[in-house]
């Protein structure tokens, strides 16, 4: 169930260049159903900025009634958000969307988690939950450079973690797809979130595997009413012929929608 709540800022800090980690507390956390869901935040008071900003949930704890968001401050809304301080409140709508499927995974399966840039955060809770189920997880994370990289140590606690950077300042120089080939990483299922080009490459490269991807798009309502974030289905015979990223996704099986 979705709610609108003023959530309290427990901490906010810059953990990499322009990358902020925000911990919020409130009852909305109790409504989260799994990793990969997102929330829709008001970044300021009044009517400018007008629209909410969709941000994925990076980690949550029902016991503490807290969730962690990691976002990049790059536009007017997210820069305003980054200036909010501990003790202030943020108006949050959520939890929204459907997360990554985790319950259908058998114990013996090998999982590869691949994230690019600001697509990395929702994969963290996913990895934590898979790890606690005893599933073997390997991570491949892509960043622009070492200065914008984050969560590397945290992911390492859950399994082998490889990094690719555009400039080679951390891990290998190149793309996450290069790492998967180079390291010859075996997997049955792949979860990915990041730039569309990365998701497209992964989906095309591993048609025989179970691949789940998390998408983003410019949104307004976040609840499926406005039809702003629509993708066509691959299957032309599909009854609706489209999916809404906010309410049908943001996670889809590769091959469900046209990227």
């Amino acid at each position: 169930m979705k709610i609108v709540e003023n959530m309290k800022i427990i901490t906010q800090k810059e953990i990499a260049k322009n990358i902020f980690q925000l911990v919020l507390q409130g009852d909305l956390v109790q409504k989260i159903t799994g990793p990969g869901q997102f929330v829709h935040l008001k970044t300021g008071e009044g009517t400018d900025p007008l629209l909410r900003r969709p941000i994925s949930i990076c980690e949550y704890s029902r016991e503490k009634n807290q969730m962690t968001l990691i976002y990049r401050a790059q536009g007017r809304g997210t820069i305003l958000l980054s200036k909010k301080r501990q003790g202030e409140y943020i108006n949050v709508l959520g939890p929204l969307g459907n997360g990554f499927p985790v319950h259908d995974l058998d114990e013996g399966k090998q999982v590869l988690i691949t994230g690019g840039g600001i697509g990395v955060p929702p994969l963290y809770e996913l990895s934590k939950q898979l790890f606690s189920k005893g599933i073997r997880v390997t991570h491949v994370l892509g960043f622009q450079s070492e200065s914008t990289a984050f969560l590397y140590e945290e992911f390492r606690k859950m399994g082998d973690t490889f990094v690719a950077t555009d400039d080679g300042s951390m891990g290998i120089k190149g793309f996450v797809t290069d790492v998967i080939v180079q390291e010859n990483i075996p997997f049955d299922r792949l979860y990915a979130c990041g730039p569309v080009s990365m998701l497209k490459t992964l989906a095309e490269k591993y048609p025989e595997k179970e691949v789940y991807i998390s998408l983003e798009e410019r949104m307004s309502c976040g609840i499926g009413a406005c039809f702003a974030c629509v993708k066509k289905t691959v299957n032309k015979a599909d009854e609706k012929g489209y999916r809404k990223i906010c309410s049908d996704g943001p996670v889809f099986a590769a091959g469900e929608v046209i990227l």
Binding site: T47, P49, L50, R52, S220, A225, C226, F227, Y242
Partner: protein, 312 residues
């Protein structure tokens, strides 16, 4: 009778606040947040004869105190709306105003004839002002003779009163209003969005895939108010005013300008609870203002001084 109750052609509204077409889908998403029966009415998403997918993404962009959209009338088509959406909405005690759109006059006539038969549709809203579809649409909303003709033809087949939604993208909106009144319109809804655009300074290209989109939100409220002010002094038929309404105070402003009821659009996309909040605040505000009935407020900005200071 409640001070919020409003009577309009075909419509007995428990309060004058309704969600605007295109900002509320067919109500399903909002029913998760509140009982839709508290609304004055619901203007459902524009319905066309055939299903429409709409425009490529990005379909929305933020602007100062506003937003641009170019959804492109995505909807499941007349058949699905008749068989699934309207029956689903019938669980709520709320009149439906069916927004209808098309590329030809025949399209409008076909949708009007069928959808006006639905038991919970109490009025039609003729969408002759969508700025985001290339064929027809806007032409119906910018040429007075064409607007009059489509209104007339729809009136001939509709079993319920017909409201016409006016476009602000014209030189003189009063001419359009007069034309649809002469065509037999029972009421006017106004305004639709203003055509605008944004350009990405990195890519040098328009942000919206459709290039242009319709501007909505608080940014357009002054324009909407000016136009309601003008039109309400030009025609005799009632006006459902809209354009950037976010608060109960905004509702009062639209009434003073000349509106008989209001619709809330973009606010629903920011806060799913926008309509219930505005309704609750409006009732409290009327009490505070010591107003017997909200209809007393209509046109006070231009009606004579006596009316203006009339105290019960």
């Amino acid at each position: 009778m409640s001070k919020m109750h409003v009577s309009l052609p075909g419509l007995e509204l428990r309060n004058p606040v309704m969600p605007a077409s295109g900002c509320f889908g067919f109500g399903r998403e909002f029913a998760e947040f509140y009982d839709l029966s508290i609304l004055g009415a619901i203007m459902i998403k524009a319905t066309t004869v055939e299903p429409r997918f709409g425009n490529p993404v990005p379909r929305v962009a933020e602007t100062p105190s506003g937003m641009l959209n170019a959804i492109g009338l995505q909807n499941p088509g007349l058949k699905k709306v008749m068989e699934e959406e309207l029956p689903w909405l019938s669980r709520f005690d709320v009149p439906i105003i069916a927004n209808i759109a098309g590329s030809t006059i025949e399209d409008y006539v076909e949708v009007a004839r069928e959808i006006s038969k639905a038991p919970n549709v109490y009025a039609l809203e003729l969408n002759i002002s969508c700025p985001n579809v290339k064929q027809g649409g806007i032409a119906f909303g910018t040429v007075p003779e064409v607007a009059k003709e489509v209104t007339k033809r729809v009136k001939e087949v509709s079993e319920v009163p017909v409201y016409v939604k006016l476009s602000p993208n014209v030189t003189d909106i009063r001419e359009m209003a007069k034309a649809v009144e002469n065509g037999g319109a029972d009421g006017i809804t106004m305004i639709n969005t203003l055509t605008g655009m944004r350009i990405d300074i990195k890519t040098e290209k328009p942000v919206i895939a459709n290039v242009t989109g319709g501007l909505s939100g608080p940014a357009i409220k002054p324009i909407a108010l000016r136009m309601v002010y003008e039109v309400s002094q030009t025609v005799k038929i009632p006006i459902i005013g809209m354009g950037g309404i976010m608060t109960a105070e905004d509702v009062i402003e639209f009434f003073y300008a000349g509106a008989d009821a209001v619709a809330v659009g973009t606010a629903n996309l920011i806060d799913p609870m926008a309509c219930p909040k505005i309704i609750r605040d409006l009732e409290a505000l009327l009490d505070e203002m010591d107003i017997d009935h909200i209809s007393e407020l209509t046109g006070r900005s231009w009606k004579n001084e006596k009316t203006r200071y009339h105290c019960p």
